[in-house]
């Protein structure tokens, strides 16, 4: 709990900057093309957003090291600045002033382009996310679809990095990474579809406002599927075979050093922040107005981020065949059946409460869907515990078992 609070406090450190600039502007501006070309407001907003994101990225590298250190009964970085909070900035300066080594056998152009290819989609993702309510770069009607489409470009960068390095570790890391990213995208998007079904919109703000009951209660299965799929998309620990330190050094970024490594490393944290924001918006209820809403959103985001860091401190890594089995044999059928069930429930509720087609579901219909879904979720847990978890999916290569008398 202490750690959670600590995480939130660090994230919220940057609020005063935003407060100073946007305190007098209620309601916050919605940008149109005229604002883009006439007003300097848009570019100030863009600049603040980008600096905020880079600041958060740098801080998160520190926060994760500190939290995981506490979980492993270590102290973690505590030298640079008070409690070591400036560690991230020290690392950044160190990495930028380091030698930028390009292997002689590498494809130089693609090698240099890959970090940009990895980072740009993740930054672009933040264009539609309402970090401050009303303050979005582009409040698109297809918000969540845009997020999914843009972030899937990241696997291109991963493969470019791995292939252009011309190193075996990099290639294996890239191939594993792409297989994993691609496999987890299907259950992720299918589960997002269930949320879209319930809210009737693709716009992130409208999805948040449709939550009379937070969708984490309405759709616990979709929440878990999205949580683990995102963990796989971010190469977080239970699914981090593509940069498994003990097998393939650092995976696709083995050959990277200096600034380019800093970009790839920072992007992981930036993506973690972005996806946590998306999950918080999709599942944790209304956005709320003004600065209070921003603080609440950051608090919700910190909870998800803390979950990801907690995974890192707790779980061992799973094998490639197990990873793909989880994606295709558990999550994909579960997500598809979840869509069918949810659509059926919506029809059922619409006919009971006489809701006209096109109207949003109110509090009581959502409550009924919640009750049904929680009962189904409990049933699912019971069934899964009866089939003994992953044991039946474990059909990997046979392990060497020593032939000792009395054991076999």
């Amino acid at each position: 709990m202490q750690m959670l609070l600590f995480n939130m406090v660090v994230l919220i450190l940057v609020t005063p900057i935003l407060l100073l600039i946007y305190a007098n502007k209620e309601p916050l501006i919605q940008y149109t093309s005229q604002d883009v070309f006439n007003g300097i407001n848009f570019f100030i907003g863009l600049f603040i957003l980008i600096s905020f994101l880079l600041f958060v990225t740098t801080m998160l590298t520190y926060v994760e090291r500190r939290l995981v250190a506490r979980m492993q009964n270590r102290i973690g970085p505590n030298r640079v600045g008070p409690f070591g909070v400036l560690q991230g900035f020290a690392d950044l300066i160190k990495l930028i002033t380091k030698e930028d080594l390009i292997p002689t056998l590498a494809n130089r152009n693609i090698f240099s382009l890959a970090p940009i290819l990895i980072m740009s989609p993740v930054l672009l993702m933040f264009a539609v996310i309402p970090i401050l309510p009303g303050f979005t770069i582009a409040d698109l009607d297809i918000g969540i679809f845009y997020v999914v489409a843009i972030t899937s470009l990241g696997s291109l960068g991963v493969f470019a990095a791995g292939w252009a390095s011309n190193s075996k570790y990099s290639l294996y890391g890239a191939v594993r990474g792409v297989a994993q990213l691609v496999s987890y995208e299907v259950p992720l998007v299918l589960s997002i579809c269930t949320i879209v079904l319930l809210s009737g919109s693709l716009n992130l703000i409208e999805i948040a406002e449709a939550q009379e009951i937070p969708f984490i209660l309405v759709q616990p299965v979709a929440f878990l599927i999205i949580l683990f799929s995102v963990a796989a998309e971010l190469n977080r620990t239970p699914f981090d075979i593509n940069e498994a330190d003990s097998e393939i050094v650092a995976g696709f970024h083995t050959e990277y050093s200096g600034t380019k490594f800093a970009l790839i490393y920072g992007t992981e944290y930036l993506a973690a922040f972005g996806w946590s924001l998306v999950i918080a918006i999709l599942f944790f209820g209304h956005l709320g107005p003004g600065i209070g809403g921003f603080l609440m959103l950051m608090a919700k985001t910190s909870i998800i981020l803390f979950l990801f860091f907690w995974f890192r401190g707790t779980w061992p890594r799973v094998r490639i065949d197990q990873i793909l089995a989880i994606a295709w044999k558990i999550m994909f059928p579960l997500a598809t059946i979840n869509i069918i069930i949810t659509a059926g429930e919506i029809l059922f509720v619409q006919s009971i409460f006489n809701i006209n087609p096109g109207n949003a579901l109110g509090l009581q219909p959502l409550a009924i869907i919640t009750i049904i879904n929680i009962i189904l979720f409990a049933g699912l847990l019971v069934i899964l515990s009866f089939v003994k978890g992953l044991g039946q999916f474990d059909k990997g290569p046979k392990r060497y078992v020593p032939d000792i008398e009395g054991v076999n």
């Binding site: 191939v175 792409v178 598809t336």
Partner: protein, 128 residues
Amino acid sequence: MAETAKYWGVLFMALAAFLVPTSLIFLSHIFSKIRIRPKPDSEKNVSRGAPYESGMTPVGTARVKFNFRFYLFALLFLIFDVEVLFIFPWAARFLHLGFEAYVAMLPFLMLVLIGFLYEWKKEALEWK
């Protein structure tokens, strides 16, 4: 009009998203010009520029063959991602469409699920 106007924001965000990593790399180059960071000398020193293979001399080329199952999973992804694209517009308008849309979508989803079970039975999802 109002909806298309929003995409100017996306365009400028895209420019910013391209400029941020590029400028960082450029900054690093400036540092090497003014001798804050060492210049790359991988051309001079053979072992510095060699691909990392745990400290050993690299064996053969890195363009090695990899397991064909990765390719298989990429194909599976293509099929099912197209399915997902088909579901998205249906899901966004479902509150308006009602019972007919459900009946129209159900056979499609069943078809996909049956195809998926067939793949499972044919051991396309196994890793042996």
